[in-house]
């Protein structure tokens, strides 16, 4: 993607998000120790690490669920203070959690617009607009569903991720954080989700893909950040390392100085 003009070049150089020296304690547990994380524009970053490495905690700090005990966050070069999920969303950071993203018995469109329903007078929902825009967002991800009134329960796992991602897309997210989006999915569904992520990048949206199965993230991500027991142990570009070497890093927790 090319941006003409000088100003845009500046934006491209400067990362979309920069987290610096993040610390988080839960009582006596030091869950994050001096963690830095950077995501550039239209970049897909794989955030990998074993269970309990601090991946989710780091993301919850970014999405405003937890407050960091120390450290700074910069968004588009400006220092920001994210104290609630609402703050994060206002900046353009959308987080899609594993089990928490969707209400299974509500319709697709009601899920996409949950909490942000378009309204007519007196707070009545503008159903036509909601349904139309839902279908638009879904089809721009390449997901064609028969009706936006279908409840989530009847969708496959891959389609559900698609709905959650369509929501982020519709609300003009600049950064989409996916927390284990492929965890319970079949191979085919995983491929679907990876295609959605590729679509997001084409739309100019950055993605943080959290997973502990490196094989899922490897095909799409350009860079990998490895967390081990609350510390960042590696930050490597895809070309610099093979899957095997990276897996080795995650398992051993050896620190990589690069």
């Amino acid at each position: 993607m090319t941006f003409p003009g000088k100003k845009e070049e500046n934006i491209l150089e400067e990362p979309l998000v920069k987290m610096v020296g993040i610390h988080k304690w839960f009582g006596k547990v030091h869950a994050l120790k001096e963690v830095d994380l950077e995501v550039k524009h239209s970049e897909i970053v794989g955030l990998v690490g074993d269970n309990g490495a601090g991946k989710s905690t780091l993301i919850k700090v970014l999405s405003g669920v937890y407050k960091a005990d120390k450290g700074e966050i910069y968004f588009e070069g400006k220092k920001v203070n994210i104290t609630s999920p609402h703050d994060a969303r206002k900046l353009g950071i959308e987080t899609v959690y594993q089990e928490q993203a969707l209400a299974p018995n509500l319709s697709i469109s009601r899920n996409i617009f949950m909490g942000r329903e378009p309204t007519l007078a007196f707070g009545l929902i503008d159903r036509r607009k909601m349904n139309k825009e839902s279908l638009d967002s879904l089809s721009s991800l390449g997901l064609h569903l028969r009706s936006p009134d279908l409840p989530i329960v009847i969708l496959s796992g891959g389609q559900r991720q698609g709905v959650a991602i369509a929501r982020a897309l519709h609300f003009k997210a600049k950064l989409v954080v996916l927390d284990e989006p492929t965890i319970a999915l079949s191979v085919k569904e995983t491929q679907e989700v990876l295609a959605f992520i590729e679509k997001l990048r084409q739309e100019g949206i950055s993605v943080i893909f959290i997973t502990h199965s490196l094989h899922h993230v490897f095909p799409v991500a350009e860079r990998f950040v490895v967390l081990t027991r609350g510390e960042k142990t590696a930050d490597v570009k895809k070309g610099d390392m093979s899957v095997e070497e990276l897996t080795e890093l995650i398992v051993t927790g050896r620190r990589l100085h690069n």
Partner: protein, 319 residues
């Protein structure tokens, strides 16, 4: 659901001796009396969709009734008293809500507690004595709460239908309704999407409280004397009405039309069994059967819907 209701009405009409069930007198009494329970049950259904229970409705009702009777004995204008009572109902509902969400106590327990507490307080204050309610100065109140529309239809029924439509619009067409469903269906998702689920729940509790206070006034004006036993046994009957109407005990599933029909089914059964001169004890036997069978039917239909639905979505999707 509607078919079940109509079926019941037809069967009861045919069964009742001398067609007492469909006699104008019975219909009139039924239409005046049944909405008292029905109005509250609608609120309980709404609350259940957002994932909470209220077992204290009978006690909120009796407490508001008592306060209403006491205040009407003072010099305050009855209109003001009415407003105060609505405020009391809202406050009691708010207390149920705030204790539940801030204390992180299951509302089943919170409202079990407030059910005992407010009934106890009412008994203490009233010493369990019946108290006459003289509403001479309240022609306005009488016509608003116990009058008749077009000379035949008791106004209570109009309130019942009106409140049903209002709550239906709120639930199905207003954004607040979407928050109620989301809160009951997946609280974490709702919260992650910026919905203040605590507030949604508290508002639903307040709606139930207000409806209790409202019914307290309708009822006392109709009955004319205060009894501390008012509303006993309504709490589970209201839950039953919602469940019969297809509301999930886990929250997130249900509709106002369903709740309305479920409530109607419960009150029709209760009235009809009386008119059939069947011992009141049988009412509970029938309630028991109706509740269990309706849950089984709902469960079966839900399963069928899912099986059918997933086929549909597979056919129509492409990655």
């Amino acid at each position: 659901m509607l078919l079940v209701l109509i079926g019941l009405i037809v069967v009861f009409s045919l069964l009742s001796p001398h067609f007492a069930f469909t006699s104008p007198e019975n219909i009139k009494v039924f239409l005046a009396l049944a909405p008292e329970f029905g109005i509250i049950a609608l609120g309980v259904g709404l609350l259940m969709i957002c994932g909470e229970f209220d077992l204290s409705i009978g006690s909120l009702l009796v407490f508001s009734t008592f306060i209403f009777v006491r205040l009407s004995e003072t010099n305050l204008s009855l209109l003001l008293v009415g407003l105060i009572i609505i405020g009391v109902g809202a406050l009691l509902g708010f207390l149920n809500g705030i204790i539940t969400v801030k204390g992180r106590i299951p509302s089943f327990i919170t409202t079990l507690g407030t059910m005992m507490f407010w009934r106890g307080i009412t008994l203490l204050l009233s010493r369990g004595i019946q108290r006459p309610f003289t509403s001479e100065a309240s022609l306005f109140f009488r016509s608003v709460f116990t009058g008749e529309v077009a000379g035949i239809i008791p106004v209570q029924m109009i309130w019942f239908i009106g409140i049903g439509i209002f709550l239906g619009i709120l639930l199905h067409f207003h954004r607040f309704g979407n928050w109620v469903y989301a809160t009951g269906d997946n609280k974490e998702a709702a919260r992650a999407m910026g919905i203040n689920t605590d507030m949604v729940k508290i508002i639903c509790f307040i709606i139930v409280g207000i409806l209790c206070a409202f019914v307290a006034m309708i009822q006392i004006i109709r009955v004319g004397s205060f009894s501390s036993r008012v509303g006993q046994g309504w709490e589970l009957k209201a839950v039953a009405a919602s469940v019969v109407g297809g509301t999930s005990l886990m929250g997130g599933i249900g509709s106002m039309v369903g709740i309305f029909c479920g409530t109607f089914i419960i009150i029709v059964i209760e009235n009809a069994l009386t008119m059939l001169r069947i011992s009141y004890s049988w009412t509970y036997v029938v309630f028991g059967l109706v509740i269990i069978s309706s849950v089984l039917v709902n469960f079966y239909m839900e399963k069928r819907r899912l099986r059918y639905g997933s086929k549909v979505s597979e056919e129509s999707s492409s990655g």
